[in-house]
């Protein structure tokens, strides 16, 4: 049995599955239920200064649905906790006492003054919580008041507040990043410069979920008017994975602990974040859609997979995929694949054909000898993967690498050579064009 326990910047937890700072962690009742269900830790919903904020009493959530009304994108305009600070602090202390083995991190958001941060940090320390997460991510409401993503979008502010926090508390400091920036590495670097122990990402993405075409207003709306909210859920996972990888592989931030967030619903999602460098993950949407029980699937799935792969502890595979994330310019332009259609699995829907025919390379037939049949025309196939993506039958279309054979499209022998763009004769900027030299990879050494 694999050991799922984690030690994240000194914060210990029985497993890497934590609940993100959000409605599920707003009060003791919910957090108790989460711990009973088996979650390894929580980031308590963001605390602010009294008097508490006021939420709208209209809808706070919107969604985009996939087939079967599966929630694939979820957004909210809820603000930080609307309960008095004292109540939250008391409950945090009580819950931590009852569940000493679980991670208890407290999310914070106060105005950008040193006094404000100093004051609240002292109050949180009294609860014996394990750490704090600085909410520099919320893109709605609080950002209009100079907090949340308004801080996270300015690296200098990120660094400044992180530094204050490290000065005024012994607790580990995690900086939660907003994805609503051009380059996620900049605020991550700022957090590191400020002395933060770790980053967590991503917070939610600015979004309008729908437009009500009758009312001509955003949906959902509050009394006829809508505002952008923060989107999360499965649809944001690819963006979150990319940002995680960027921080994990960037020279300036490499090795900085990461708590991965963004559309994690299953053990596989979690394992993907971890392979890209996250040593814990945080979940919100999936819990809000399916309830806390999903953690059972996550724990058993991760554990079983680790057993199969021979990983005895989580740290064995965290970051393992990072070396394989590279820049486009270092991709091997000599490598070639061709689509292959499993005719036994094919249900003859024809989507591969029409996608290729209408929008790509005219490399799939729709008729062979007068019979409806979908076959790859290797002379035209560039191996783009579109057909495999649109095929409704999993693994019916696979991309098969050419090995020691001539690419019928280009007439070039594919023999395992390596040649990237920096070496390519078509690149006027190529320093040292090479023809077919597998050992001449110019990718910078790790």
């Amino acid at each position: 049995m694999a050991d799922l326990s984690v030690d994240f910047v000194g914060i210990k937890a029985p497993n890497p599955f934590w609940l993100a700072s959000a409605p599920p962690t707003d009060k003791a009742y919910n957090v108790e239920r989460a711990f009973r269900a088996g979650w390894g830790g929580v980031v308590w919903k963001t605390l602010g200064e009294d008097p508490p904020i006021v939420n709208v009493s209209g809808p706070r959530y919107g969604a985009i649905h996939g087939p079967d009304r599966r929630v694939i994108g979820f957004n909210n305009i809820e603000l930080i906790t609307d309960r008095p600070l004292e109540v939250n602090l008391r409950e945090i202390k009580e819950v931590k006492r009852r569940w000493p083995d679980r991670a208890m991190v407290v999310s914070l958001m106060v105005p950008c003054t040193e006094e404000s941060w100093k004051a609240i940090l002292a109050r949180v320390e009294e609860t014996e919580a394990d750490g704090v997460e600085l909410n520099f991510g919320c893109p709605h409401g609080m950002s209009e008041r100079g907090m949340g993503s308004a801080v996270g979008q300015v690296p200098e502010y990120v660094e400044m507040v992180a530094r204050w926090c490290k000065q005024h508390t012994r607790m580990p400091v995690i900086v939660k990043l907003t994805p609503n920036v051009g380059d996620i590495r900049k605020p991550a670097e700022a957090a590191k410069r400020g002395g933060a122990d770790a980053v967590s990402l991503i917070n939610t993405v600015n979004s309008i979920m729908h437009v009500d075409l009758d009312a001509m207003s955003p949906w959902p709306h509050t009394d006829g008017k809508g505002t952008h909210g923060g989107m999360c859920g499965p649809a944001v996972k690819p963006m979150a994975l990319n940002m995680t990888a960027e921080i994990a592989r960037s020279e300036a931030t490499r090795g900085m602990p990461i708590s991965g967030i963004g559309g994690i619903e299953t053990w596989k999602d979690a394992a993907e974040f971890m392979a890209l460098g996250a040593s814990t993950v945080q979940v919100c949407t999936a819990a809000m859609v399916y309830g806390f029980k999903i953690v059972e699937e996550m724990k058993s799935g991760l554990s079983d997979w680790m057993d199969q792969k021979g990983y005895s502890r989580v740290s064995d595979f965290v970051g393992r995929a990072v070396p394989n994330v590279t820049d486009w310019q270092y991709l091997n332009l000599d490598y070639a694949v061709k689509a292959q259609i499993d005719q036994d699995a094919c249900i003859e829907c024809g989507r591969c054909h029409i996608a290729c025919e209408d929008t790509s390379h005219q490399a799939i037939t729709n008729m062979v000898d007068g019979v409806r049949k979908f076959e790859v025309i290797e002379e035209e196939c560039v191996g783009c993967n579109l057909c495999a993506v649109v095929c409704p039958v999993e693994n019916c279309i696979t991309m098969v690498p050419l090995e020691n054979e001539v690419d019928k499209r280009t007439g070039r022998m594919v023999d395992g050579s390596y040649r990237n763009w920096t070496q390519h004769p078509n690149n006027p900027m190529a320093k040292q064009p090479v023809a077919y030299d597998t050992d001449a990879a110019l990718e910078p050494a790790e």
Binding site: P67, D68, C349, G350, R351, H353, N366
Partner: protein, 452 residues
């Protein structure tokens, strides 16, 4: 001791009859329609379109349902098949579009028929008329028969601007949709609503009570009109091949179904305690199931071959079985026995397949019966067009037509059950549509010549 023959109305409570004759396929609600529509893969050159005799763009209309545009979906359907509402109810989809659905690979096709009904119901309940009469061409076309073939032809002609006179022997239009299909397949007077919708386009005058060969002749129509379309249907039922001895309560199944369809209060319709139906097609199933739903205690459907050879689809057979009809295969009637001038029992000879041929085994059995319904296929009676038979060529027992539904007479087209084909509503609708397009082309050519 029961009296004989034991035929009576109201064998079961009126509420039970009403419930029994409720919709065979309850309409999909909005959520069900969404879930069903999301299963469609939007295939390229979709096999379901190829399998539909009227060529409805099925992936498109399902996508329109999915995007909450059911009336747009209905237009896609009706543009190809003006009887799309009825076809959604009576088409044997399991042997047409749904059989061709690529999701049959998982054993469960997209529910095309029920989605088609969802879309057409949405249009009809909104009361929205999509079509209007075309600009008048001055041409006049006679259509004989107000069934699916005739009205499909008339509707298309009207939208193309031709004036249409429809001659119909019965007092109601709709043909078999109104008279020959089980009531539970078309509830709520849908057949007449659909006919009204079709006629609402304008430019079509229906003359009821006009029967070809009795009140009008093909020769006179051909002389008076620019073109004639014959959508005559089938007028007779194959004979049983036994001496019926003039016994009462032996009836054609189509006559029973027609009577049933035209009865307002089914609890007043008499039915036998023991009913025997002979035949293996849709009509046999419709008669047997409806007899059961009226309260017959024992309904036995006897077919001379096995289940696989039955013209009625597997699904139809299942409908019969789940409604308590007993189906007996491999037997044919060879005699009837009476009592006091009324049917008392039907005698059957067992049959078997020997080297691909159906033979009698010599073994016999008797089924006591208060009523016998004959459903062993319908016939086209060429006597109605007898005055023209010298020139109106026949193809076996039906009117000979080419791919455009042209007969051997220059101004006469024909389609539906009186011609080749599969005796399906959807095929008749397509015939009518293609004939109308062919007539339109012929008339345009003639007008062009006249203008020179």
């Amino acid at each position: 001791m029961s009296t004989h023959p034991d035929i009576g109305a109201g064998r079961i409570p009126a509420e039970a009859i009403e419930a029994g004759f409720g919709d065979l396929h309850p309409a999909l609600d909005r959520n069900e329609a969404r879930v069903a529509s999301e299963r469609c893969l939007f295939c390229y050159d979709a096999p379901c379109i190829q399998a539909c005799p009227t060529g409805i763009d099925i992936p498109l209309f399902i996508r329109q349902i999915m995007t909450e545009n059911p009336q747009g979906a209905a237009k896609t359907i009706l543009d190809a098949n003006i009887f799309g509402g009825m076809c959604a109810r009576v088409c044997p989809t399991e042997t047409l579009c749904e059989e061709a659905c690529v999701r049959m690979a998982e054993g469960k096709p997209v529910e095309i028929g029920r989605l088609q009904r969802y879309a057409t119901d949405a249009l009809f309940s909104a009361g929205r008329q999509l079509y209007r009469q075309g600009a008048a061409t001055g041409a006049r076309v006679a259509v004989v028969g107000a069934g699916p073939a005739g009205l499909s032809c008339a509707h298309k002609l009207a939208t193309l601007g031709h004036a249409v006179d429809v001659f119909e022997a019965r007092e109601k239009g709709g043909g078999l949709n109104e008279h020959g299909i089980a009531a539970y397949k078309t509830t709520g007077g849908f057949a007449q609503k659909e006919v009204a919708y079709i006629l609402e386009v304008g430019g079509i005058t229906v003359h009821h009570g006009k029967r070809l060969g009795r009140d009008i002749t093909l020769a006179s129509l051909a002389a008076e009109y620019d073109a004639v379309f014959l959508g005559l249907g089938l007028q007779a039922v194959n004979a049983l091949g036994v001496d019926e001895g003039g016994l009462a309560n032996i009836e054609d199944a189509v006559a029973f179904i027609e009577r049933l369809r035209q009865t307002d209060d089914l609890s007043t319709l008499p039915i036998g305690r023991k009913v025997v139906v002979v035949g293996g097609g849709m009509t046999a199933i419709d008669a047997a199931v409806q007899a059961k739903k009226l309260g017959a205690e024992e309904v036995t459907l006897v077919y001379r071959r096995g289940a696989d050879a039955m013209p009625a689809s597997r699904y139809e057979q299942e409908v019969a079985l789940t409604n308590g009809v007993v189906i007996r295969h491999f037997a044919r009637p060879y005699a009837v026995q009476g009592e006091g001038g009324a049917l008392a029992s039907v005698l059957f000879m067992r049959t078997a397949l020997e080297g691909g041929k159906l033979v009698d085994t010599g073994e016999t059995f008797a089924l006591p019966a208060d009523q016998l319904f004959k459903a062993i296929g319908q016939l086209f009676l060429p006597t109605d067009v007898a005055d023209e038979s010298a020139v109106l060529e026949m193809d076996g027992v039906k009117i000979k037509v080419d791919v455009e539904c042209r007969t051997s007479l220059p101004k006469v087209w024909a389609g539906g059950d009186c011609t080749r084909g599969r005796d399906l509503t959807v095929v008749a609708v397509e015939d009518g549509k293609q004939a109308a397009l062919s007539i339109d082309r012929a008339l345009a050519a003639r007008l062009a010549v006249a203008a020179e």
